[in-house]
Assembly symmetry: C2
Homo-oligomer: 201 residues x 2
């Protein structure tokens, strides 16, 4: 089986959410799996001088707010702009990583549930009680999860992933690597598909 | 006939070039014409705090250089990264506008010839002698053109277009308006097509 696709994301990134709803089906069509790798845009932006979409100057900020919603409708993905945006996603990312260390399928259910909760149900997935509720909803043990996210190994794992993303030139999310080739943005999924279908171009 | 599509561009924008190679055919499939409107990203960036792609921090700059070329291959459009990039495009935009004031079809031939000269033949289309050569190549009178670009009405027209683009929230190029709806980037052409095919979404 060919190498998995790496999908780098931040739980606070709307375009990551849109792409997360498509990437596994796309990968599966070409016999690939998806490796979900959280990073933290807040940390990345401090090294690249990037700016959160909401801190852009007014014409850009209002365009992007509109573009999220329109791109979601275009993709057929439910979307409602969160009241609190962006949010700190350290706890959410650690919860995902702890689940991943236990059971990858469960972790992936958490990922989709968290993205949908934030971007279509206006639930603040940065808050511990929302993370616990999501754990219960996907059939994970919220008590074990709350303990798990405090493990030094999980904290170290997230830090290592953030460092790795920066080292590999990730400056935004989603960033997808296919056979080492980097694609930034949900709008590069057609190019990802071309690569999967017929190789380097 | 429904209203034309507005295509705002800068002759120094590679993604404008890519989209310029597709937009007329796309519009024609839905019974629309394209109104080409030059603006100046250098002026826009001073008002929006935008940064030319090449002045981005290293990981972004190298990604975009790669993305231009890959997106061109994906689109089937010849592309060779210009040696001098970006360039001042005031003279090129004025040349286009003077031709447009004389003969729209001729102006559109100039537009495509200039984009291709810059982005596939490494000719510096900001230079007067290259603009003259392009005029000859498309069957325009280079002497009349050189005189035309000095006309106050042409200078005013470009200034008015730049002001209009800023007033309407244009912050990058290409920016496409369909029935007043704004789409930024060549990668939004599929959404433009959806709009043309079935209206607002």
């Amino acid at each position: 089986m060919p190498a998995p696709i790496e999908f780098w994301f931040d739980f606070s990134s709307p375009y990551s959410y849109l792409a997360s709803e498509k990437i596994e089906e796309l990968a599966a069509r070409y016999g690939r799996k998806v490796e979900f790798k959280p990073t933290l845009l807040g940390v990345i932006f401090r090294t690249t001088g990037g700016v959160p979409l909401t801190e852009l100057v007014p014409p850009k900020a209002s365009y992007f707010a509109k573009d999220f919603a329109r791109s979601a409708r275009y993709a057929g993905v439910p979307f409602k702009h969160p009241t609190t945006f962006p949010i700190a996603t350290v706890a959410t990312a650690r919860a995902f990583l702890w689940l991943q260390s236990q059971d990858e399928a469960l972790a992936n259910r958490f990922l989709h549930a968290a993205f949908r909760a934030y971007f279509s149900q206006d639930r603040n997935i940065g808050e511990p009680e929302v993370i616990s509720a999501l754990a219960t909803e996907i059939g994970a043990d919220p008590v074990a999860l709350a303990r798990g996210v405090q493990e030094p190994a999980i904290k170290d794992r997230l830090k290592a992933l953030v460092d790795e993303s920066i080292a590999r030139g990730v400056f935004g999310a989603p960033t997808i690597f296919v056979d080492g080739e980097m694609f930034w943005g949900h709008d590069r999924l057609p190019q990802v598909e071309r690569w999967l279908a017929s190789g380097p171009f």
